[in-house]
Amino acid sequence: MSKVSDYVDNLLSRLRNGEVASLARAISLVDSHADVGNALHHAVRPFTGQAEVIGITGPPGAGKSTLINALITELRGQDKRVAVVAVDPSSPISGGSVLGDRTRMGEHTDDPGVFIRSLSARGHLGGLSASVLRVVDLIDAAGWDVVILETVGAGQSETEVAEVADINVVINAPGLGDDVQAIKAGILEIADVLVVNKADSPLAQRTERQLKAMLQLRREESQQVPVVSTIATAGSGIEELVSAIGSQSQSKFNASKSERLLDRTRRLLAQQAAEQLKCWLQGDTSPESASIITAVIEGNCDNEKAITDLIRIRYGAIL
């Protein structure tokens, strides 16, 4: 036991000292759900809250990785230390994966002010990996200024990134099949900034018009979502993108780090609570719970009341 806490202390202090190998190792431990990963995550908690977390999501091939490459260049120009976590899908058959996002960021490999880590979704649905929130905390505690998250190619209902990132950039591009189909309303809902990439394509203006029309259908506040057009391969529009991210962050958190951290931690707890509750409820096969469920089946009890009852009978004592 003490050996393990020594181990965690050692890794933590090396990670806090900026040792890349220790951060990389800590991420593996958290990602593998080793018990020490829990201990590590707990230990870094007091040091989190400095980094800004930017999520980048959008359909496969829209240019997420290429855009991140250009974003890194821009942010490095502002002297920010930038970390990227890129999540790729895993094969449902072998569980293996080829993690290729960082290929597009190759020009930054040797920059000590850039840290890039590829993660496999490991079967997790929702566009990220199950561990990504904790991975972000580790990077934050290691002192990186910005953490950019690339989700797997999404665009349908993979909105999980909204629970992790402070600011969500949703990116679309012309020529990905039917433009409107490539990106669904659900994913537009989470956008703080919308990007129309591949603006060098003749069809880009049409995509932009369609996106703006879709935004009009959304609630009042969301009409203020800025739409930025970019050519990621040429780095054009990136300055505008960075300033759009900055002003959205400003209005969301009043430029206050503590408000941002409060919001992030609330999202983390809500996510964990949902998972834990699901686990509890599914595992509860007591006769009491069976009778509540039977009442639902027979139409004598609505879902909401049943859920409250299920929680109460089982956990009333500790709630």
Binding site: M1, K3, V4, S5, D6, Y7, V8, N10, L11, V20, A21, A24, R25, I27, S28, L29, D31, S32, H33, A34, D35, V36, N38, A39, H42, S90, S91, I93, S94, G95, G96, S97, V98, L99, G100, R102, T103, G106, T109, D110, F115, I116, R117, S118, S120, R122, Q276, C279, W280, G283
Partner: protein, 153 residues
Amino acid sequence: MNQPLTVTSHNLEGSPARALITKIGLDGHDRGSRIVAAYLRDAGMEVIYTPPWQEIQSVVQLALQEDVDLIGISSLATDHLIIPEMMAALREAGLDSVEVFVGGIIPEQERPMLLKAGVRAIFGPGSQRDDIVECAKGLAAESREKKQQAFGG
């Protein structure tokens, strides 16, 4: 069912092995490395795949940041001649626990030089998929064993 903060193990048991499949030097023929990347993926590994022409320092950075267990280098021309330099750079960066294997066309008389530099296995043309996968799995397991020891596990 509360998850208390008890710690019983800190190995990576059960999580997929991580491999870097890459090419150093001037040769751009990446068919071999693509095939091996696919073999390892299909064997359940997480493969960081890069285009050819990586600098030695980039390989070190990739291995560090991605915390890989093994590195596979494909060499079809003379790229393998700089592998000893790469091995030294890995050691310099403290990556002693990362195992390295090489595939491609390596002249018989140059193999001892690679093995002496720390390369663990060499696969020539016509190597069987199963042999490569088997070897990679074994090396990944050894790497993890070493990493755990290095941290006093």
